[in-house]
């Protein structure tokens, strides 16, 4: 049965009480970038900020989803409420997607302290990194202590999301080629924690050694922030390495209590601000009525594309606009 549209502001209280339907609906609207939801996101932002946000990234097939499922179990055992945002790429051809990360997390579904949400990257349309951080705030409002974001470590948006968490984990796996894949993908340096997954495999030692050597050679990353990223071997099949991983999170969180944490939060906020501004500008720009007439003038060679474009940009940035 159809029901009337519930304004986003009215969803805040039920979401804050942890009512899943309201949390889920707010997320859909944030993901779609609906202008209507922005005022609510603004309210939610003021009330959020308590959760520990963990980004987990690595190439497809490196074992992230399986690892997340094991990790969540550990966090639940420690009494935490955990939300997972699993991001998979959209098809560049159709814009659609098949989101299958949930399959690996099936064991967790009925636990009342777990919330799992799948998101697609939307390809070049952009704005998804921005939406993902709104989603994090909604989950934070709903009382989740740990929010885990799984993203594929290729593509700018995905890497930016991983970077925008408090603690970033880069997963490398044996058996996916003899290089550390994170090097090729250019994401090794964003790691606060390194994981070598699938350590039940005999070739995992080699991956561990290679990675440690590369880190010694200074290819590592977080060092500049006064933190030495540990390398942790895990096996999701044998349930190994997860105590070390959870301990790594606790230590990194403690590290963030200091000045490093302040810097990190500011850096994330600057990123969000930029993304929010980009989204608004794109939206205004795309709906600017001067494209048609200016396009005609460009076609008639009365003006050139750059002059016309800078005219449009100037015009809309001086116009009084509000969200």
């Amino acid at each position: 049965m159809a029901r009337p549209y519930i304004p986003s502001l009215d969803l805040i209280e039920p979401a804050a009480r942890g009512e899943i339907w309201a949390v889920a609906r707010l997320i859909s609207r944030a993901e779609a970038g609906q202008p209507e939801v922005r005022e609510a996101i603004g309210e939610i932002y003021k009330r959020a900020g308590a959760a520990h946000v963990i980004g987990i990234t690595g190439v497809p097939g490196s074992g992230k989803s399986t690892l997340v499922s094991k990790l969540v179990r550990k966090l639940l055992d420690a009494g935490e409420r955990v939300a997972v945002v699993a991001i998979d790429p959209s098809s560049p051809y159709s814009g659609g997607s098949i989101l299958g990360d949930r399959i690996r997390m099936s064991d967790l579904v009925l636990d009342p302290n777990v919330f799992i949400r799948s998101m697609a990257t939307r390809g070049a349309v952009g704005g998804m990194a921005h939406a993902a951080l709104d989603v994090v705030d909604i989950l934070d409002l709903a009382g989740f202590d740990k929010i885990i974001i799984e993203t594929v470590g290729v593509g700018q948006d995905e890497v930016e999301i991983a970077k925008s968490s408090h603690t970033t984990v880069v997963v490398s796996a044996p058996g996916l080629g003899d290089e550390i894949q994170a090097i090729k993908a250019g994401i090794l340096e964003i790691a606060d924690l390194h994981v070598v997954s699938k350590c039940d495999r005999s070739d995992a030692n080699r991956t561990l050694t290679d990675l440690k050597m590369m880190l010694k050679d200074g290819l590592g990353g977080a060092l500049t922030r006064g933190w030495v990223p540990p390398v942790i071997g895990t096996s999701s099949y044998d349930d190994e390495g997860f105590d070390e991983l959870v301990d790594g999170f606790a230590r990194h969180l403690a590290h963030l209590e200091g000045p490093a944490g302040q810097a990190r939060r500011e850096q994330i906020s600057v990123f969000r601000l930029k993304k929010a501004a980009e989204a608004l500008m794109l939206e205004m720009l795309r709906s600017d009525p001067s494209f048609e007439p200016e396009g005609k003038r460009v076609a008639a060679r009365q003006t050139d594309p750059y002059t016309a474009a800078s005219g449009i940009v100037k015009h809309f940035s001086t116009e009084k606009t509000h969200v």
């Binding site: 049965m1 159809a2 029901r3 549209y5 009512e19 899943i20 339907w21 889920a24 609906r25 997320i27 859909s28 993901e31 779609a32 970038g33 959209s90 098809s91 051809y93 159709s94 814009g95 659609g96 997607s97 098949i98 989101l99 299958g100 949930r102 399959i103 099936s106 579904v109 009925l110 919330f115 799992i116 949400r117 799948s118 697609a120 349309v125």
Partner: protein, 135 residues
């Protein structure tokens, strides 16, 4: 720009026939929809919980094992319980005509059986979601 239609496709119970559901998943993805697939052997509780968390426009259940008359009443009761009685539910797979009629009375919006052409599946979902309107 409107958001893609979100669909959750589920297989419930011991039914191991997953060719059809995978065909449907690809068809809908290629039509630009976001498709969450839960994998085989889920319970109605798991399927509904996932559908609520994913806030899908359409919950699609694929059944070729003959248990539709026990599964769908459970699904509708659970949807009510989760305060999402308005979710669009559709069914597909192999089932007799008399069950199809009963299922529709129960609230299943559409039942798409063997040999349904891809375009018909796409059109059915699109028009159901359009008819529902913004949410």
């Amino acid at each position: 720009m409107s958001a893609p239609i979100r669909v959750l496709l589920a297989k419930v119970g011991l039914d191991g026939h997953d060719r059809g559901v995978k065909v449907v998943a690809r068809t809908l993805r290629d039509a630009g929809m976001d498709v969450v697939y839960t994998g085989l052997h889920r319970t109605p509780e798991e399927v509904v919980t996932a559908a609520v968390q994913e806030d899908v426009d359409v919950l699609g259940v694929s059944l070729l094992s003959g248990v539709q008359m026990t599964v769908f009443p459970k699904i509708f009761a659970l949807l009510e319980q989760h305060k999402v009685g308005d979710m669009i539910v559709i069914a597909g797979g192999v089932m007799p005509d008399e069950d199809v009629e009963e299922l529709k009375k129960m609230g299943v919006a559409e039942v798409l059986l063997q040999d349904t052409p891809p375009q018909q599946i796409i059109n059915t979902l699109t028009s159901l979601v359009e008819a529902r309107g913004a949410r």
